[in-house]
Symmetry: C2
């Protein structure tokens, strides 16, 4: 059997007997699949979730658990922050582009408060406490944090800053422990189970089963190595995650993230995207990726980040994922953090989790020496530091508008942390869907019976990102997929 046959749609007429049946069949039991299962089951559908591994969870259960929500959620209000649907949309339109889908952003923002309440109703716990330190995650069990650079330049000049990273509470969370994503997934799966959703584990989805009129009516899969046909009486929901671990797809669609997957899982092999493409499904934003930069934000804010020409290029106190994207895509994955001895000590003594605290690669007494040590063009770093120091002494950063609290002239001894090739991330592109999570054919029409959500679909982010966007749009449009599929 050649590989093309492995993906080609199976005619429903060729199926002798169905091994399993349900109204709604969901591929993947991560956050999108779980949200779809809850809503489809609550709508009265008989639901079967197919999961490739031995347990529910997906990438979500391993994640930091951020869910990007706003517009005035109960937690935002309890923590004293004001937000609105329009303000949230203004931020996302600026931060998720260029190329972000304004209609999807408007839709997501309009439903955001309701979605938070729905999560709470599913028993996802949130503690009404704000974490205000620089970091990738809260140090403790705080439920709210800035997660997209909302309070940093340029976004703080575009929309009113409001933190929108909502983090499920882990009782007694300690550093290095299992992530808050588990505290999102456990209640959702419990809710789905209580609503009647069933699950089948160790099932690898292979091909879509299609009626002669083009309607998707099932999935062919391998279950412990045996070919298995699963009938979907009302619809199939694809929710198997991204293509970050499919080397061929990454080379074709997002080559710059090749070789550096992060915050992803090996199961993210693009299979759902491939199966739907074989039916003529359309794609969007396949080149978009989340990008982490492997350094502690407590260090980032206290130094200045320069490129291979010794030039600053981003406010160091913004969302570190934005620093990662700009480093990988705009600076050829080359950056150096210039940080003096006092700042390094302050960072080490700070409240952050310190998991990514890094020692300087070079340490010198003067910037001139450091520049030479780093093999930068003569004078370029000296000019950058002189300009930064002069303005920082006045509490200003006219070039990049880092917030005054982090402005301090760089002294001696001074170090540089080599951040070349220090990025990683996951892919954000995937199947093109409607706001009702219908998978679109290249003709622009929905493929009957086929729905999708989560990172196997193109979501809110076209180029930018904020922590919580994937669990956010995955759960939000997962619900839509479940409701829509249950209607048949």
């Amino acid at each position: 059997m050649n590989r093309q046959q492995d993906l080609a749609p199976v005619p429903a007429a060729s199926i002798g007997a169905w091994d399993h049946e349900a109204d709604v069949v969901i591929a993947g039991y991560g956050v999108a699949g779980a949200a779809a299962a809850v809503e489809a089951a609550r709508a009265g559908a008989d639901v079967l979730v197919l999961e490739r591994t031995g347990s529910w969870g997906g990438a979500a259960a391993m994640a930091g658990g951020f869910i990007y929500l706003g517009g005035g959620t109960a937690i935002q209000t309890a923590c004293g922050f004001t937000d609105s649907v329009d303000n949230m949309a203004t931020f996302l339109n600026a931060a998720m582009g260029p190329g972000a889908d304004e209609n999807r952003i408007a839709d997501y923002c309009a439903g955001s408060v309701e979605h938070f309440d729905w999560l709470v109703d599913c028993d996802v716990p949130f503690k009404a406490e704000f974490f205000g330190e620089p970091g990738w995650e809260p140090m403790g069990d705080q439920g709210l944090m800035y997660s997209g650079g909302e309070n940093s330049f340029p976004f703080n000049s575009i929309a009113t800053p409001a933190p929108r990273g909502h983090i499920p509470q882990m009782s007694g969370k300690k550093q290095g422990e299992a992530s808050a994503g588990y505290m999102l997934m456990k209640p959702l799966v419990d809710t789905a189970t209580a609503a009647g959703a069933r699950a089948l584990y160790d099932v690898r989805v292979q091909r879509l089963i299609v009626e002669s009129d083009g309607r998707v009516t099932g999935i062919q899969a391998r279950h412990f190595g045996t070919e298995t046909n699963i009938r979907a009486r009302r619809g199939v929901v694809l929710a198997t995650g991204s293509f970050a671990y499919n080397d061929a797809m990454v080379a074709q669609y997002a080559p710059r993230i090749a070789g550096r997957p992060a915050a992803s899982i090996e199961q993210h092999d693009g299979q759902a995207i491939r199966m739907a493409q074989a039916l003529g499904a359309d794609l969007a934003h396949m080149d978009a990726t989340e990008v982490a930069i492997f350094i502690d934000p407590q260090q980032l804010v206290r130094g200045i980040l320069v490129n291979s020409r010794g030039q600053r290029f981003v406010a160091e106190d913004t969302y570190p994922g934005r620093v990662g994207q700009l480093t990988l895509y705009h600076q050829d994955n080359t950056a150096f953090l210039i940080i003096d001895g006092d700042a390094q000590e302050d960072a080490m003594a700070s409240l952050s989790p310190q998991l990514m605290m890094r020692p300087p690669t070079w340490v010198c007494e003067s910037i001139a020496d450091l520049e030479q040590e780093m093999s930068l063009a003569p004078g370029c770093l000296q000019a950058t530091v002189a300009a930064y120091n002069e303005a920082a002494a006045r509490g200003e950063d006219p070039l990049l508008h880092k917030k005054p609290q982090w402005l301090k002239p760089i002294g001696s001894p001074v170090g540089a942390i080599d951040l070349r090739e220090s990025t990683g991330g996951f892919t954000l592109g995937g199947l093109q869907t409607t706001l009702d999570s219908e998978v679109l054919h290249v003709s622009g029409e929905p493929i009957p019976g086929l729905y999708g959500a989560g990172r196997s679909t193109a979501g809110l982010a076209a180029w930018g990102y904020a922590s919580g966007i994937s669990l956010g749009d995955g759960s939000f449009y997962g619900r839509r997929a479940g409701r829509r599929a249950a209607k048949g």
Copy 2:
């Protein structure tokens, strides 16, 4: 009829009578289609080319006519340049990436000299004269020019510089006249016609016709508004160009070029890509684009180009298309050319075509005044110019390695040309094909009977570009498609 039906493959069994028949049916009579027609006809196939407009030519006939070739062509040798297959591949691997396909580049370079000879054999005229001035095109009828920054930093430190832009000769070419691309297309079409290829004009291809076993055996089209079925006994070649003029596709796949198509034609609506996607065809490098920046290179080399932070970011004497890409993608489409009065006068008096010569947007007596006039952060441009001038006085550019011949301290009066939103270009991504121009299914297997070449396919460029790559890989892999399709 809904749009999905418009693209869905047509079962061959449903075709009552064929309106036209040929061994090889080629969609699109631009450079890829013409090259395919020549080779298929020479291989003994009965060839029919379907062209949407009233005449052959496509984007190629309107283009500057550059064909990227090297490794020691007759013209390179006659003009005194040494090149080799390996040297050419080293350059292309550096300049066409990140993400460029090394196998395709090796294949293209190995066949480059033979391809040049083939073009000459098809009566495409080339004059053995080198044009060495900065510019987008030669001023006269010279046949050879640098077209990818081969002799500029960083590429001149990676591979031995050799010009590879080969330009067909127009007798008595004058500024503003019809382009050299016509002198490529006319001989190719004449050769195809002499070899027996037929053409049908005003035909819009709509859907692929497919046997029950998946083999493509024809095209359904509209001919003067009438549905027309064209049988391809041996194979179909898709060569209808890019998707630069399909707004929906650009929004999904290459949003940053949205609203700024250039060097493209309205017929580039992605139809061939769509038709093949409906069959499960795979794509590659859909986000890649060529980017022109609308200014005369004679000005570029004599000034310094800075971003919104007053920082230089590219050697100003490199391929201007590279300047365009870096400006659009790395600098948020924001650049300013700082040029003093003498340099502007020199540029105006230079040998360039001067079609894109631009006046300064602001003129001041000092850099300090200019910086303020431009609303840049205080001091940033002054530091940049001071560093540039100090080194330029010594004939050096340690930051970006502009060639000494263009280094001259910037004096007074000094102007700045506003190059914000001054870019445009066309898309480079498309169908994923084998080196034999077979269109690949998402499974990784060729789709039987379906071939593709030109800008409806992903070619040599993943991210970078050089003038002549599109006519180069379009004609090169067009030939492959014609030969492969003729075999059936």
